[in-house]
């Protein structure tokens, strides 16, 4: 049996957390928006060079107020994946503030910043904007085209194995 690690998807609502997860686990995508309430959990085994790892991914209801996150959802997490919507600046304007809040409460959990829906924006404009706001993203992805989705989960998994 491989090790299992808990990952939590965080971010504003409608940024594509569920879509990324569905693309990763089932390789499907839908244009329709179905709000996630509470938490929806999926798992997938990832095969890496040396080892296998089971990612248990908690897709948590989106919010713009991180102080309201239920601590029970976040307990036992090994990694946070913070997703924002590249086409809506309001979903990344408060990243720094929210991440600081997380870092304070969960100092040992690594956080990755993902800019999703890149298929909708001009990458140069986006990169400029992110730079201007000093946001260091880990990946830019699209659940719609699948760009970087597999890669980002795999890399998060690899990092978890390294640290394990």
């Amino acid at each position: 049996m491989s090790v299992s690690k808990k990952i939590v998807l965080l971010g504003h609502f409608g940024v594509g957390k569920s879509s990324l997860l569905r693309r990763f686990v089932e390789n499907t995508f839908s244009e329709n928006y179905t709000v996630t309430i509470g938490v929806h959990i999926m798992k997938k085994e990832v095969h890496l060079e040396k080892d296998n790892i089971t990612l248990v991914i908690w897709d948590v209801e989106g919010t713009d107020d991180f102080t309201k996150y239920r601590s029970s959802y976040l307990m036992g997490a090994s990694s946070f994946i913070y997703v924002f919507d590249a086409s809506r600046p309001i979903t990344y304007g408060d990243i720094k503030y929210n991440l600081e809040h997380l870092k304070e409460k969960y100092p040992h959990v690594s956080a990755h910043i993902i800019g999703n829906k890149v298929d909708l924006v001009d990458p140069d404009v986006l990169l400029n904007d992110l730079k201007a706001q000093d946001i260091q993203h880990s990946y830019l992805s699209s659940a719609k085209t699948g760009e970087n989705v597999e890669l980002l989960f795999k890399n998060v998994a690899a990092q978890l194995l390294e640290n394990a």
């Binding site: 928006y33 709000v35 309430i37 209801e61 029970s72």
Partner: protein, 519 residues
């Protein structure tokens, strides 16, 4: 009894489970879903991976709200409570089915989130539109400015050319070129205004002005033009309007010129009337109504609504055909003055444009003491005068240098030196003696503003006090103010009108002539 009731009541909505620290199911009442004793509960649903972390936490109890699970093809929402027995290394899970409750909540959140996201997206689109519009306006302003510079030198050289010995035909041709160039300048100015209005940069500046004089010069100009077209120009200006009013003379002039030019353009016989009236005798502020009435071709009904549309709107609908931006500017200017331009028209009978603006009445109705300009043209052109004034020109563009040289060539009273930038101007002033500086404002290395400041702060008293005339193609009030702040004494707009240039020079030399200087 109560216990039994409670059991019945909760039977189908709650389930109790006992699991050990290796995820093995020890006991279950199977009320919500059935699960085999001894099986690994994480195989049933990945939520239960959380059990291992329950044993790592110090808290005995936890509650997980609204956990979504697919059970027999149905989406369920559970609240799950856990209670750990650290000694026995087992945990009791109390699972409550709240699917109905959460489904209602889901609907509410669905609507709420969707509407917020739509709002975000609209906002973002608006933001982008504004950025684009700002870009367009800046572009327009820059392009207009770029076009003005060469246009000005064309106009300047045409004036020079006009004064050389030419035959009648050549003079006619120059007249046509001059008219067209002036038209072009007017269009470029309009573009500049439009971009400023749209960017919200155009401000109405209210100042005291001589209303009588203002209307007199309008009447003079259009009387002449009407005469040329064999039209009658009728003016009816209320005698009860005070002489000195407070308002934006420049913009008011722009409005009236546009409307009068249009009226003359579209009238082929009959009259054009300018009527200005007020009904008020208020001492501080009066509404003044302006009417421009013509007996021209009129405006077809279907166009009455579109004639004021802004450049942007017309362009969008493919209607922009150089038909003049005038009316849309007039409309926007009147709006800036809190007024509304109205039009009524009948085809083949004529049009009436009408607007009312509120103007302040100056409490000081006394004539200003105008210092008469002492300008004796003979004094200037005649070589009889011994003294020659030395003028220094700061100008980087070659054609403009040439143009100035031409203007000064016919003047016996002055000699002209040219410096290529502000730094050179200061250098020349330190090295040689001059009576006056003509300074282009935009120059490389050191611009006119900086140079003027240097001069005004110079340690040499003679240099410090030299009169400076700013020359520029730009015409904004701010620049005028800035030039003044930098200590410049006068301000001339290109194309330079030679008469005005020499008048200004004479005035300043007269005023600033060093008393004991002998040169």
């Amino acid at each position: 009894m109560l216990n039994k009731l409670r059991q019945e009541f909760l039977e189908n909505t709650t389930q109790l489970l006992i699991v050990n620290n290796t995820n093995q199911v020890l006991d279950t009442d199977d009320s919500l879903f059935s699960i085999k004793k001894g099986s690994d509960i994480t195989d049933f649903h990945p939520f239960f991976h959380v059990i291992s972390s329950l044993f790592e936490d110090d808290r005995k109890q936890q509650k997980f709200y609204c956990v979504q699970m697919e059970i027999k093809g149905k989406t369920c929402f559970f609240d799950i409570r856990s209670q750990v027995d650290f000694e026995k290394k087992q945990v009791v899970l109390f699972i409550e089915d709240l699917t109905d409750h959460y489904k209602t909540l889901h609907q509410i959140k669905q609507v709420r989130n969707e509407s917020i996201i739509n709002f975000n997206i609209t906002q973002e689109l608006n933001h982008q539109l504004n950025v684009e519009r700002g870009f367009k306006n800046k572009f327009l302003a820059n392009v207009s400015h770029e076009i003005r510079t060469p246009l000005n030198s064309i106009l300047g050289f045409l004036s020079v050319l006009e004064n050389t010995s030419l035959d009648r035909e050549q003079l006619d041709i120059i007249g046509i070129i001059k008219d067209s160039s002036k038209n072009l300048v007017a269009i470029v100015d309009d573009l500049l205004d439009i971009s400023k209005i749209e960017a919200g940069h155009l401000e109405i500046k209210n100042k005291r002005f001589d209303f009588k004089k203002f209307t007199k010069s309008l009447v003079k100009t259009y009387d002449l033009q009407a005469n040329e077209k064999r039209l009658q120009f009728v003016t009816d200006i209320g005698t009860n309007i005070p002489k000195f009013l407070i308002g934006d003379q420049l913009r008011l002039n722009q409005i009236l010129i546009n409307l009068l030019e249009n009226a003359l353009k579209y009238t082929h016989q009959g009259t054009v009337t300018l009527r200005i009236s007020t009904t008020s005798r208020n001492m501080r502020r009066i509404p003044v109504t302006f009417e421009i009435i013509d007996t021209g071709i009129g405006i077809p009904k279907e166009y009455l609504t579109t004639i004021f549309e802004s450049f942007t709107q017309l362009e969008k609908r493919g209607l922009f055909g150089g038909s003049g931006l005038g009316l849309s500017i007039v409309k926007q200017l009147t709006q800036l003055m809190d007024s509304n331009l109205e039009v009524s028209s009948k085809e083949n009978e004529g049009s009436t444009f009408k607007f009312t603006i509120s103007l302040g009445v100056s409490h000081d109705q006394k004539e200003e003491k105008e210092t008469p300009v002492i300008r004796n043209s003979e004094k200037r052109s005649g070589g009889s005068k011994k003294k020659k004034y030395r003028i220094l020109l700061g100008e980087d563009i070659e054609v403009n240098q040439l143009l100035m040289m031409r203007l000064f060539a016919d003047e016996g009273t002055y000699s002209l030196d040219i410096a290529k930038n502000g730094e050179q101007v200061v250098l020349f002033l330190e090295k040689y003696q001059y009576d006056l500086v003509l300074m282009d404002l935009s120059m490389p290395v050191m611009d006119g503003y900086d140079a003027a400041m240097r001069i005004r702060n110079h340690t040499d008293k003679k240099i410090k006090k030299i009169p400076i005339v700013a020359l520029t193609a730009r015409t904004t009030e701010e620049e005028r103010d800035e030039a003044k702040e930098c200590g410049m004494n006068a301000y001339l707009t290109k194309p330079i009108n030679s008469d005005l240039l020499f008048k200004t020079i004479d005035r300043l030399l007269h005023r600033y002539k060093p008393k004991k200087e002998k040169n």
